[in-house]
């Protein structure tokens, strides 16, 4: 990792141990659990999300081990169903949705706005507590009695037939939903009201544009899933007939309500990493992102379109044919702003000065996997082909390419980029590159065979499967073990760096942005002096006509 800077020289930073910063300003557990500092709250989220990721990953490895053999022999069908439900529920609601906004977003939004904190610091801490309470409730439900509905909670199975701890898990998700809503409100207000003087909308880093669009979805979409959960709860406990036809309800209505939130939720997961990648491309190309305005507006248009495509999850569900066609065509529209981003990143690299440090490796990994994930979305948007592929492993592969290949790669890229800023420590460059390579290879090894499995017809959520599909499943499980090693390594070297890592200079990458103008780790109030606002990504201020 290069410590040389091309940015204007800065007063040398005193050794990290001697300087007061947000990590050593106060001490003790209470100082963390009662903190109102957005940076500490971001770190608290990072801890919670990492724990959920490890538990969700453990459930995934149970699923992959069971699927090594065609017979359901490692565990009972019931436990298998609980394992994939646990994996889905933890990963979607407690990892992917909060992953980047609550950690990197919390840490960086105020700094990138030139502010000393978010608009509502107490609300921010309350959001974290709601996340923890919701997480513990859901975790208790999946561990103690188990939940076997899948993360989609389709009725009437979830409302009438399942014997699992559906209500406890759903209540946990309900509570966690408020964490998401409040975080969204906090970020929207912060970005509107807390920007430093002179920091106009089109001077914002693209990461903020992405998080702004995400926050809007969180605020508008999450209440709908909360309502859905309440209705399922009323049906399950008091036999109100909303979704079960035996009680006079309509099961397809529940799918509409569920996907009205859960499709936009996909963009809650993928827009923030798209923002991270824009930052990484700029920093490691030392160049303003090509088509800044188009990249910014593509985030906003993805957020808007995301609300009117939910029916593409329901082409086989018995919704009207014409509704299906409308949802199909609108879904294809999403391809355009997604493609714009990829093309603009690549155009940025043209005649750039690219350095291949770990965050940039994740950035390339992201672009590759997001491309495959996005293009395989074309099969599923196409109503004629989706009929065959729906509810098969093709869909599983597709959304893992977006969610893991996209969202988690973006989170990893962002963590490796901002870790020195967040902790004031440098991590091991060699091991981080090895692990980035293992994750990329292991990921493809795990999920590529699943495209073929789905194409030949293997349905999702199968505990046992026909013998001829074993070879591909064994490939997938083997890949998953490589992936697991790849993910274990950063946990180790990041924790190691906290104690033994070399102190980080304020700007180890020579990057532009307000966060790189302040010491690492930042002081409690972020800016000791009022921040100097420039054009975003102003790597070459002398160039004429750059903006």
């Amino acid at each position: 990792m290069s410590a040389t800077l091309t940015s204007p020289p800065m007063a040398p930073q005193p050794p990290v141990e001697e300087r007061k910063h947000y990590l050593n300003a106060t001490h003790g557990l209470a100082s963390w659990l009662l903190t109102l500092d957005h940076k500490r709250i971001g770190m608290l989220y990072l801890i919670g999300i990492t724990i959920a990721f490890i538990l969700g990953g453990f459930a995934a490895s149970m699923v992959r081990m069971e699927l090594m053999t065609p017979q359901g022999d490692l565990m009972s069908a019931e436990n298998y169903n609980k394992a994939f439900t646990t994996h889905g529920v933890l990963m979607v609601f407690f990892v992917l949705i909060p992953a980047i906004p609550a950690t990197l977003g919390n840490f960086l939004i105020p700094i990138m706005c030139g502010a000393k904190d978010v608009a509502f610091p107490r609300l921010n801490l309350m959001s974290w507590y709601l996340f923890v309470i919701g997480g513990l409730m859901t975790l208790t439900a999946v561990v103690v009695r188990g939940v076997d509905t899948g993360w989609t909670f389709y009725t009437p199975y979830s409302s009438t037939y399942s014997n699992g701890a559906v209500m406890t898990a759903a209540l946990g998700i309900f509570i966690n939903g408020f964490s998401s809503i409040l975080t969204g409100v906090n970020f929207i207000v912060t970005i509107h009201k807390m920007r430093a003087p002179g920091l106009t909308w089109f001077k914002l880093p693209l990461f903020l544009w992405a998080l702004y669009a995400t926050s809007v979805i969180q605020v508008l979409g999450t209440p709908v899933v909360a309502i859905t959960i309440v209705l399922i709860g009323l049906e399950r406990t008091l036999q109100f007939g909303f979704f079960d036809p035996k009680l006079g309800g309509d099961p397809v209505l529940m799918q509409h309500m569920f996907w009205f939130y859960s499709h936009p939720a996909v963009y809650i997961m993928i827009l923030p990493p798209l923002g991270v990648i824009s930052e990484l491309v700029a920093a490691f190309c030392r160049k303003r992102v090509f088509g800044y305005h188009f990249v910014a507006m593509s985030s906003v248009s993805i957020a808007i379109i995301s609300f009117v495509v939910w029916g593409h999850h329901m082409f086989t569900s018995g919704q009207s044919v014409y509704a299906g066609l409308v949802f199909s065509v609108i879904t294809f529209f999403v391809a355009v702003p997604s493609a714009i981003k990829v093309f603009n990143w690549m155009a940025t690299m043209y005649k750039a000065s690219i350095s291949l440090e770990t965050p940039m490796l994740y950035c390339f990994g992201f672009i590759g996997l997001f491309t495959i994930g996005g293009l395989t979305g074309l099969y599923l948007s196409s109503i004629g082909v989706d009929i065959h592929l729906h509810d098969t492993y093709f869909v599983v592969a597709h959304f893992h390419y977006i969610m893991v290949g996209g969202a988690i790669m973006g989170l990893m890229g962002g963590l490796h980029y901002w870790w020195p800023k967040m902790t004031g420590r440098l991590y091991n460059e060699f091991w981080s590159k090895i692990s980035a390579g293992l994750i990329f290879a292991g990921f493809n090894f795990t999920f590529f065979p699943q495209f073929i499995l789905g194409w030949v017809g293997m349905p999702r959520r199968y505990h046992a499967y026909p013998e001829e599909l074993q070879v591909l499943n064994v490939f997938s499980t083997a890949g998953a073990s490589i992936l697991a090693i790849g993910y274990a390594m950063p946990i180790i070297y990041f924790i190691y760096s906290l104690g033994k890592g070399a102190p980080s200079p304020p700007n180890p990458w020579g990057a532009k942005g307000l966060e790189w103008d302040i010491p690492s780790p930042p002081p409690v109030e972020n800016f000791d002096e009022p921040p100097v606002i420039t054009e975003p990504y102003d790597y070459n201020p002398k160039a004429v006509g750059g903006h």
Binding site: S2, T6, G72, A77, E78, N81, D148, T152, Y154, P156, Y157, S162, K246, P251, K287, G291, Y292, F294, S320, V321, S328, F332, A335, V336, A339, M346, T348, M349, Y350, S353, I354, S355, L356, F364, I367, G368, T371, I372, L375, T376, S381, S382, I383, G384, V385, I387, H388, H390, D391, T392, W455, V456, G457, P459, H463, A464, E468, L472, Y539, A543
Partner: protein, 324 residues
Amino acid sequence: MNKNLPLVPEQASSIAPGVDALFYFITIVTVVMTAAIFLGCLILAIKYHRKREDEVPEPPKENLLVEVAWSIVPFFVVMIIFGWGAYVFFVSYNPPPHAMEMYVVGKQWMWKLQHPEGHREINELHVPIGRPVKLLMTTEDVLHSFFIPDFRVKKDVVPGMYTSVWFTPTKTGKFHLYCAEYCGNQHSGMIGWVHVMEPADYEAWLAGVNRGETMAQAGERLFSRYGCASCHKEDNSGRCPTLKDIIGTQVQLANGGRALVDEAYLRESILKPNAKIVAGYTTTEMPTFQGQLNEDQVLQLIAFIKAQTKQQTSTAAPTKGGKK
């Protein structure tokens, strides 16, 4: 196809080649774009690799023309895929007239299939090659999804409504039948086989299995057991409308609307008689059969009512959607 490492599904229905053509077209688009982007990244990363530490590239100039170009080109490509996909879907959506009608009831965790002649099968379906088959489906409990990958057909089976799929098998042999919508514990056990037979073999099979009463006969028995005939008289002189020659017609409703008499309408009228009242009749004449009849029995009654209609055209209006 390699038995241990299948890479493509068999094309065993008339729909399959059309679906596959589009699938392979999208695959070409995907492979070309993926290769271009991977290769592009590789070349850019090598060619513009940072050479000196103090290197500062020129900032880019925004170029509206380039942005519009790479928005419009993908837009047209995806619109081709949309149009083609919609066409493939329509072709596979409407069953040809005079398709053989069979009945499917999903239940945790089995497929109950019934031929109009009355044969019942569990997790097995025997059909002749080359004849269109239309399945009218519902479920006793939770959602299921009827999926035959080698035919490229899939349709959710939804409690409280009828959905349907149709296919024309083009290859003899045994093909997997799956439940594709998660339905609880033994979801992966809710599987079976579709046997596609030469017409002569199919006839022989039909003759060989123990023939009970046909579905319509079973329906007729229910019809008399529940005393339906005392009100629903053939000559329309009873207290309730006649059921003769009504399938496929439009009826005038008491509330001023009109309704198409299809399977979904009949089902609703049996289970919730007061939901739609035919003009000229009053409510509460007929008891509700919700909870009295299971899905098989409702289907038998419907088969009986359909048999009362001369020149029975299959209610071509797809029975999707139902009325709620």
